[in-house]
Symmetry: C2
Subunit: 154 residues, 2 copies
């Protein structure tokens, strides 16, 4: 299953993360089925904070996909009554997205279920779990620090 190469620690760690993610795919698909929502609809609903409105473009940004794509995803969530489009007050080209009360209810369950760690992580000792979390926090902080100057520079 593994290649006969000697990867760097970072490379191996990344490989393990990818493997961890993919092995949890069936669980994710099953979750989507339970909620009767397609995978990307699940993720979109998770990203939308119940207490604030965001433009479609912001959703496209956090989902890392094209705006034309978001139109369809939002269409389906809106047809289900979980979110709604509202015209923006400042810019009439923009449409703001808002989670409906029903959507808020579904989303709460969803977020709860999606945050359950997979068996591999759950099996670690409490000390190892904290250490893993701390390292990942550090990694994210490093990535954020590297990304922000580029944004504020333009």
């Amino acid at each position: 299953m593994a290649d006969n190469k000697e990867p760097s620690p970072a490379g191996e760690a990344w490989g393990l993360i990818v493997g961890l993610f993919f092995s949890s795919r069936p669980r994710f698909f099953q979750l989507a089925q339970e909620f009767d929502l397609a995978p990307m609809q699940l993720r979109a609903l998770k990203e939308l904070q119940p207490d604030r409105e965001v433009p479609m473009s912001a959703l496209a940004s956090v989902l890392f996909c094209d705006a034309s794509n978001v139109t369809g995803i939002v269409d389906r969530l809106e047809a289900r009554g979980l979110i709604e489009r509202r015209p923006s007050a400042e810019d009439r080209r923009v449409k703001m997205l808002r989670v409906t009360p029903e959507g808020e209810r579904v989303r709460a369950q969803l977020v709860e279920r999606m945050s359950e760690p997979p068996p591999a992580i759950a099996a670690l000792s409490a000390a190892d779990q904290r250490q893993l979390r701390d390292l990942l926090r550090k990694a994210q902080a490093a990535a954020d620090a590297a990304a922000e100057p580029a944004l504020s520079a333009r």
Copy 2:
């Protein structure tokens, strides 16, 4: 962007892993585009060891998807001349998959590129990278240990 909840270390670690994975999505799609292969084709080619033949069902298993799905993915890879189907000697229902020399060439580049860690991990110190790798190895070992008895028990 974050919910106002206090997740467990394991839950937070899992959330960070998912975030890490999704933020590397554009990189992955760009890679697929460079190789002119669709995402799942990329993953399938990566999973197929150049030096051994595996049945279609084994590929379906590692990709965590349905056999009917694999038919299409294999069709497209075979049309590109990267892999080929061969009849199994033992069971004539089974078709074995084999990477072609051209596929082997492409796959080597692919594996090289896919194992490059994302910026967040690359930014960690060497010591932190090793620690992260060790924790993830431990997690995987724990998951494997938990999974195997269940298989041998039935």
